[in-house]
Assembly symmetry: C2
């Protein structure tokens, strides 16, 4: 671990579970892809490998984005917000970010007093996860 | 409260504090502005008024963005992610989103193994908050 990384971690305000929110955004189009969570280990692995890792709250485990689905995220730039409790990940998303097979997890919009789907799956979930789905 | 709103709330997974993460993005440029938190009341006021409200975790209070600083956010569209624990707010940001006077709260980037400031304040914080700063 470098001195720089230690200084970076010191700027972050991890919550009581040791997590910060991380928003992944496609670096060249600005598309908001997904929001997930990172702990210190996920951040370290992301910076070390250049591939985005999160902490899965449901599985309580380190999770390299795309490890099951192949839909990886290459880190282009990491940004930190003013109070250190959120990260912005500028990424190059390979394929789709959402486990539903859609490019973005934010595929439902509030329009006319109701929630409507504004994007269809680009890939079938069964294709992403095979037998596991 | 409309039936639609009740249905919307039913799609959300509020955390143990009754909050969901909300990412504000400038609707026409895609710029990621800030990450904050909403509870049911903040969401309801946002949809009712068309101006973004958050829940301040530090003050434990409803907070209309810009109520002190004048730097308001007009809601253009609300989006919900696949598992209902994050909101994407497409907004029209009046002035600057960050309390430091910068357009975006994500003004620090990890470059060359160190955290560097990539944006300067557009407005002095003292101008935003007057005597309160």
């Amino acid at each position: 671990m470098t001195e720089g990384f230690t200084a970076l971690v010191a700027e972050l305000r991890f919550d009581q579970h040791g997590l910060v929110a991380a928003l992944a955004q496609q670096h060249d189009t600005g598309e908001a892809l997904m929001l997930a969570w990172m702990n210190r280990q996920a951040l370290e692995e992301t910076l070390r490998t250049g591939m985005v890792h999160y902490w899965s709250r449901s599985r309580d485990a380190l999770w390299r984005k795309g490890e099951s689905s192949g839909q990886t995220q290459r880190l282009v730039e990491l940004r930190v917000d003013c109070d250190g409790d959120a990260l912005l990940l500028l990424v190059d998303q390979h394929g789709v970010a959402c486990h539903t097979g859609r490019r973005s997890c934010f595929f439902r919009a509030w329009r006319g007093g109701t929630l409507v789907e504004i994007a269809r799956p680009a890939v079938a979930p069964a294709e992403l996860y095979g037998e596991k789905e």
